[in-house]
Every structure is written in C-alpha cells, then in structure tokens.
Symmetry: C2
Subunit: 160 residues, 2 copies
C-alpha cells in the first residue's frame, strides 16, 4: 500500500505547480512516504527535495483513497493513499527546472483550467478555497481517466 503526500503552496494569490513532461499535466510537488515517517515529515521532505524551498507551517487538507481499475471499473489493479497539504509561505526560492519537470507559479484560479488529473483538480481546489478536511475515494483507470469519486468533508468544531 503506497502512501503518497503532496503539498500546494499558495502565496500572493499564486500556487506552485510541477508540470510533468509525459502528458504536460500539472501536479502539486510531493512523493512517497519513507518507512517510519509521519505524513507531515514526508510533506516537508518531499516538497523541499523537489523544489529546493521549505514549506512554512504545512497543514493537512485532504486524505484520499485512490483505486485503479481496468476500463470497466470491475477489476481493481492497485490502491494507495494520497495526503494533500497546503502552506501559505516558503523559505527559499524554488528551482525552475528539476528532473521531475518544470516548476511554475500560476494564479490560483488557473487550477480550474490547467491540464491535470480530474481528481487532483477536485483536491487542489478544495485545498485552496475551503475550510476543513476533505476525504474521499477516486476510482481511475490505468490511463488516469476518472471513473467515479465519492467525497466527504469535515470542519473543526462543526457540530460541537
């Protein structure tokens, strides 16, 4: 069971995104948890490794179960967990190019239109525009076509 963590920095109404070379899709910087790490430690380490800058006060905004199936949606090929953080400042200046792709600042609003996995759009828009934590499951094909999503959310103190 892979555990993946990504982190979206929002600063001056812009977000820092990584453009991946294969499809030209945008993602938030991140990567895989190492054994024994907390998800918070992974978020800081992976973001710093990928961008050369350190996120300030990251906070969790979403936890997602990612299910990969065949085209019919019947046969499950893989399942992993995705944890999405935001931060509102960083220490240092990010790289412009990395071995993973190109790092670019884009206006927050462009999250609605830039090419990316549809589930990532749901997660990143939530992370920058809503209070609380989002949970859910995304069902994708192996070609990353989104078949179905099921979403829940909570806000601290709601119902208290």
């Amino acid at each position: 069971m892979q555990r993946i963590v990504n982190l979206l920095v929002v600063k001056d109404n812009h977000v820092l995104l990584l453009k991946k070379p294969r499809r030209g899709w945008y993602v938030a910087p991140g990567g895989k948890m190492d054994p024994g790490e907390s998800i918070y430690e992974t978020a800081v380490r992976e973001f710093t490794e990928e961008t050369g800058a350190k996120p300030v006060k990251p906070q969790l905004k979403g936890i997602y179960t990612m299910v990969i199936t065949d085209e019919s949606g019947e046969s499950v090929k893989d399942e992993w967990m995705l944890h999405t953080f935001t931060a509102f400042d960083l220490d240092g200046t990010p790289f412009e190019t990395t071995i993973e792709g190109v790092l670019e600042w884009h206006p927050v609003e462009s999250l609605q239109t830039l090419p990316m996995a549809e589930g990532d759009r749901t997660n990143l828009l939530f992370a920058v525009s809503e209070l609380g934590i989002q949970y859910g499951t995304f069902f994708y094909t192996e070609e990353f076509k989104l078949l179905r999503e099921v979403i829940q959310k909570s806000v601290e103190g709601d119902g208290q």
Copy 2:
C-alpha cells in the same frame, strides 16, 4: 500496510471507550479500512458496527505512523497507519457489551489515568483538548511498550 481508524465520542464531558478483555486496556472504538473506503467512511462504519450508535459529524484529529520493532528498537516487525477522529454527538444508544469488550462512558479527565497504550493516551488527549491535527510516529515493541514518539501538529489558518 494496514490502515486503522478509531473514533472518540465526547459528550457531556464524557468519552465512550472500549475496555478490551486481554489486558484491561481502554481504546477508542474503531477497526480496519476495507478496500476502496475513505478513512471517513471507515470511521463511521467501524464505530457504528462496534457500538450500535452512529457518530454525528466526525472530524479527523490525528494521523499516526505506527512502527513495531523488537525490544532493542533495531529490527522493524510491522508498520501501519492510525487515523483518529472525534465526534461530539451520536445517534442511538451504544451497546454495553460487545464481542470486542465492554463499552463504558468515562470522564474526559480519566484519559490521563486509565490503563491504555501510552501512544493512545497522547492521541486521545490531543483529540479532546487541542485545536488542529496531530501527526507523528510511535515506535512500539511487540508487547506494546512505547519506545519513542515523534510528534508534529498543525492548526488551520496558522501562518496564513
């Protein structure tokens, strides 16, 4: 990689705990994620199955990496993820006894003294008394002696 979810209901300054028969230790009701579930869905399903009552508006309070080692702490035997939720109300009346153990309401303050795994005490006290999300790694022996803990936290909007 096991994914475990537990949920602590706090109501009228009391918490609902499950007393496990083997050691007499207390835990928050919970259990294992099923494939394709979100952690939110697991929290609701497992709590409802174990107690007979449904949590109202659960919210995530902690995510922990649990590492089991030999007595020396050198050799890793197992690793899993624990997700801790709270809720401040429930629909229905909880069972008094279940196949898992005995369900009991205890004053919130008793979390400081009731017999339980030391990491659970850290997590449950955070869940009922602090704002935000706690992250961390707990290193235990196979006999559930806590060797070491590393903790981080975040509060929504902090640093914004």
